[in-house]
Point group: C2
Chain length 162, copies 2
């Protein structure tokens, strides 16, 4: 485990501890294990993936606990929830990331992050116009990947029949 990752994990753990204390919630090993697992790799994940990942590492938690803990992590702002597809919520780490949006591949479902400051201008303007105090936004672009002359996707390297 590299140093930067260790630092992030430490900080995130501290923040979570503070949060639990303030809420009068218990600091259980399960909760920390889930937090640690989430911050062990950088990418989007869904509940089941996380659950199975932990099983594979021989850390026994129930799905219910995963859901429960994710709620706490969402509330504490350490994790962000997305709803890209139909019925599979996706999550991602929130700490150490700047605001970003998502490009979702129509072919393989892969999620790529991007950033465009113009969105926050839209936020501000529409908040004014519509009488809302904007809390957050979600911008998802959906599209087909460009492929090279052999039909290889320029993004995921898979063969794509377009």
């Amino acid at each position: 485990m590299d140093k930067a990752l260790a630092l992030v994990k430490g900080e995130v753990k501290r923040l979570f501890t503070d949060f639990l204390e303030k809420k009068g919630q218990r600091r259980t090993p399960e909760r920390y294990a889930i937090l640690d697992e989430i911050y062990s790799k950088k990418s989007h994940f869904d509940v089941d993936t996380l659950f199975i990942q932990m099983k594979n590492r021989n850390y026994q938690v129930s799905r219910a606990t995963v859901y429960n803990t994710l709620d706490l992590l969402l509330e504490s702002g350490l994790v962000i929830k997305h709803q890209f597809g139909q019925n599979l919520a996706q999550f991602e780490q929130a700490f150490g990331y700047k605001q970003h949006d998502h490009m979702i591949c129509n072919v393989c479902g892969k999620v790529t992050e991007f950033c465009d400051p113009r969105i926050s201008q839209t936020e501000i303007m529409m908040g004014e116009l519509l009488n809302f105090e904007i809390q957050h936004h979600s911008l998802n672009l959906f599209g087909n990947p460009k492929v090279d002359e052999n039909g290889i996707c320029l993004n995921c390297d898979n063969v794509v029949s377009t």
Copy 2:
């Protein structure tokens, strides 16, 4: 029923007929009834609302048929599907509307439409940058409504405890 609405309904029906014919699908009364119901009122709706609405009008259709028909309407481009919340897909008419995005009220869940041309610039730029041919996007703003001095929401007129 006003004239404009009648015109839209006629046109939409024609488009749907063309689509069904091209796909070799049958033109069943159920399908037209569902299309008609959807275009009878301007707003977002979910499957169950639509289903119950039709029941109330004494038009008997099964949920399965509603789902099936919505798929066809989506494919034909006459209806658009959104996933604002957790697990309740919302739909809206697509014909006669220009591209727009959505502002969702954190308090009452009400959906307001808005339009900002800057989004399409983001689409174009990110498509270039990430090697995608953007098909569509979805931008949702979430926020709390501004209230007047009496705590009345400026948007929905309900009392809001902020």
